[in-house]
C-alpha cells in the first residue's frame, strides 16, 4: 500500500511552501513512495535486543564555555543572502497590510 498519496504530498508541499500541481503531484508521490518503501526494508532487521537511542555516537555532554568567539562581518553575512538592503537581509513581504 502506498505510504505517500497525492493528498499527503499536497499537505507536505504546502508546509514546505512548494507549488506542486496537476500531474506532478502523482509523479512525485510515486517517487517519494518508492524511496520510503526502500528505506522500509530496515523494518526487517531484528531489533528486540537493541536499546532505543536518539543518537548513534557513544557520546554525551559535549559542552562549551560561555565565552565569545568571532562573528562574521555584516558585509559577509549580507553577501550570503540572495537579496539585501543594508543592514538587513530582505525577503518578499511576509505580512499583508
Amino acid at each position: 500500500m502506498a505510504v505517500v498519496t497525492p493528498d499527503i504530498l499536497r499537505q507536505v508541499a504546502s508546509l514546505a511552501r512548494l507549488r506542486l500541481e496537476g500531474p506532478a503531484l502523482a509523479q512525485f508521490a510515486a517517487q517519494l513512495d518508492e524511496i520510503l518503501q526502500y528505506v522500509q526494508q530496515l523494518q526487517a532487521v531484528e531489533t528486540s535486543g537493541v536499546e532505543p537511542t536518539s543518537h548513534v555516537l557513544p557520546l554525551s555532554n559535549v559542552l562549551r564555555k560561555d565565552e565569545p568567539g568571532a562573528c562574521l562581518s555584516q558585509e559577509a553575512v549580507l553577501g550570503l543572502a540572495p537579496a539585501q538592503q543594508r543592514p538587513f537581509v530582505t525577503v518578499p513581504k511576509v505580512l499583508e497590510t
Binding site: S14, L59, L63, R64, P68, C71, F88, V91, V94
Partner: protein, 479 residues
C-alpha cells in the same frame, strides 16, 4: 449559565548569557543588525552546534527555583517550520525529553496561597527579528537574535482568572529577577508570553475548546486579552455556538482578539531528534551544587520580612517584588534604621518616582545608607515630613547623601525658639483680620496662619512648635 475560565501560560525568557545557545556569537541586545552571527547560527552547511554550559546551569537553577524534577537525560529536537526568521528552516528545541518537568509556583492571593503547577521547562533557540515596514515591499531580517538561548516555562491550566494570570506573571518575573538569569524586559523581548484560555460551566471538571492568544506585549495586555476572551467565549457559548480550537492574536489598539488566518495555523512541526547534538546526562552533583547556590527567593523573603521585621503581608509583598528593593531595605536596616519607616520610603516615594519616570529599581542612584540617614534626620527632628520628601527627591535626582544635602542646602528644620518666635510674630502682624477672627472664636483660621508661617520659613519651621507658638500668642493677648 455561569462559566469559569481555565487559563494556562507559556513564558519565554531570553537568558542573559554572554554568548548564544550553540555558538560563541554574543547574545547582546541592541547591536547593529546582522553583526552578531556566524556559520552555526546562520545554519550554513557542515557546521556543528555545541551547547553553552552556562545555559545548562542556569536552566537547572531556574528549574530548581520552581521545584521541578530535573531530567536524568535530556536531548534536543528539531522543530520544522518555514518562516524567514529561521535561517535553518527548523528550530532546535526540546520535545519529549525536556530539561525539567512537574514543578510549581505558589502565589499569595489575598491571604490564601494558590499553587500553580509548572508542566515543563525546556531550552530552545530564539529566531531572528523580522521588520515589516508598511511602506516597503520587502520584509527585512536581522539575524542577531537567531540562536540566543530561550527558556520556555509552561504552566498547567491552573489559573482561574485574568487576575490570577497577572499575579502569576508578576511572581514568575520576580523569581527570575532574583535568580539573575534574565533581564525580563518585555520591551526588548527578553520576556515574552502566550496564554491559552477555555471556558467550562462553573464547577465542571471537563475542559472546553482551548484558544491560544499570541502577540501579548505586556502583563497588562495579557490581563486585558484574557478578560476580553472570557467575555467573547461566554457570549458564544450562551448563543449555543461551539467554539473551535484556534489561535488568536491580541490587537492592542482595538482591544480585541482576532483569529489568525488558518494558513498560518496549519502547523505540523514534525519533531525529530537533533542529530548534530548528543544527549545530555545531567550530573546529580551539578544539580546539588546549583541547588546550594540558589539565592533567597521572593516567597522566602516575604516570610522573613513578616517574621523578622514585623512587616505586614502587603508591605512584605511590595518589598520583595524587586530584588533591588530588598537590598535597599536590608542595607538601610544594617545602617541602623527601623524597618517600618524604611519600608514606607521605598513603597511610597521611591515606587512613585519609578512609576512616574518609567524606571527599573536598578536604574536609580540610591544607596541603602542614604535611606537610613533620611530616616534618622526625620527622627531627630532635623527635617519635617514635608522637607524630607523634598530631600528624597533631590537625593534621587543628584545622587547625593541626605546628610550632605542638609548641610549644603541649609535645609535644617528651624527648631530654635527665637527664630520661630520672629516668624510667628511676623505672620500675626501681617494678618490682623485673621487674628481678630480667631479671637472672635473662629479658631479654624489657625490652619491658614500655620500655612503662612510655613511659607515664610520656606517650609523649614518645625510644624508642631510653630503651631503651638501661634496658638499661644493668639490666646495670650486679649482684645
Amino acid at each position: 449559565m455561569t462559566y469559569e475560565p481555565v487559563i494556562g501560560l507559556e513564558v519565554h525568557l531570553q537568558l542573559s548569557t554572554a554568548t548564544k545557545l550553540f555558538c560563541g556569537c554574543p547574545a547582546k541586545f541592541g547591536s547593529p543588525p546582522n553583526s552578531q552571527t556566524c556559520p552555526v547560527c546562520l545554519g550554513l552547511p557542515g557546521v556543528l552546534p555545541v551547547l553553552n554550559e552556562r545555559v545548562l546551569e542556569w536552566g537547572i537553577r531556574t528549574a530548581l527555583a520552581f521545584d521541578c524534577e530535573i531530567a536524568q537525560v535530556m536531548k534536543f529536537d528539531r522543530k520544522q517550520y518555514f518562516y524567514p526568521d529561521l535561517p535553518k528552516n527548523y528550530q532546535i528545541s526540546q520535545y519529549d525529553q525536556p530539561l525539567a518537568q512537574h514543578g510549581h509556583l505558589d502565589l499569595g492571593l489575598d491571604g490564601r496561597t494558590k499553587r500553580v503547577r509548572i508542566r515543563r521547562i525546556h531550552l530552545e533557540e530564539d529566531a531572528g527579528k523580522l521588520l515589516h515596514e508598511a511602506s516597503q515591499s520587502q520584509t527585512c531580517i536581522d539575524f542577531n537574535r537567531t540562536g540566543v538561548p530561550l527558556l520556555e516555562i509552561v504552566s498547567e491550566p491552573d489559573l482561574g482568572s485574568s487576575d490570577e494570570a497577572y499575579q502569576y506573571l508578576v511572581e514568575l518575573k520576580a523569581v527570575i529577577e532574583y535568580l539573575g538569569v534574565s533581564t525580563c524586559n518585555m520591551e526588548e523581548g527578553s520576556l515574552r508570553c502566550d496564554t491559552n484560555i477555555s471556558l467550562r460551566p462553573a464547577g465542571d471538571s471537563a475542559l472546553g475548546s482551548k484558544v491560544e492568544i499570541k502577540n501579548l506585549n505586556s502583563f497588562r495586555a495579557v490581563k486585558l486579552a484574557l478578560e476580553y476572551e472570557a467575555k467573547r467565549q461566554a457570549a458564544a457559548l450562551g448563543r449555543g455556538e461551539r467554539l473551535p480550537q484556534e489561535t488568536r492574536l491580541w490587537d492592542a489598539k482595538g482591544l480585541k482578539t482576532e483569529p489568525m488566518r488558518s494558513k498560518e495555523e496549519a502547523a505540523d512541526y514534525r519533531y525529530f531528534p537533533e542529530p548534530d547534538l548528543v544527549p545530555f546526562v545531567i550530573d546529580r552533583q551539578l544539580i546539588s551544587r546549583v541547588g546550594e547556590a540558589l539565592p533567597e527567593l521572593p516567597a522566602q523573603r516575604r516570610r522573613r520580612y513578616q517574621e523578622a521585621h514585623r512587616l505586614s503581608a502587603y508591605d512584605a509583598r511590595v518589598l520583595s517584588q524587586h530584588r533591588a528593593f530588598g537590598e535597599l531595605f536590608e542595607g538601610a536596616l544594617r545602617a541602623g534604621a527601623a524597618p517600618k519607616p524604611v519600608a514606607n520610603w521605598i513603597m511610597g516615594e521611591l515606587l512613585a518616582h519609578l512609576n512616574a519616570h518609567g524606571l527599573e529599581p536598578e536604574e536609580v542612584k540610591l544607596r541603602p545608607e542614604w535611606l537610613a540617614h533620611l530616616v534618622q534626620l526625620v527622627d531627630e527632628g532635623t527635617l519635617s515630613g514635608k522637607m524630607a520628601k523634598d530631600v528624597f527627591a533631590q537625593m534621587l535626582e543628584r545622587g547625593v547623601d541626605p546628610l550632605q544635602l542638609v548641610e549644603e542646602g541649609g535645609l535644617k528644620q528651624i527648631v530654635e525658639s527665637g527664630a520661630l518666635e520672629r516668624i510667628a510674630e511676623a505672620v500675626l502682624e501681617a494678618n490682623p483680620k485673621s487674628v481678630a477672627d480667631y479671637r472672635k472664636g473662629k479658631t479654624n483660621v489657625l490652619t491658614y496662619l500655620m500655612g503662612q508661617a510655613m511659607k515664610r520659613s520656606q517650609g523649614k519651621a518645625n510644624p508642631q512648635q510653630i503651631a503651638e507658638l501661634l496658638k499661644h500668642k493668639l490666646e495670650r493677648v486679649t482684645p
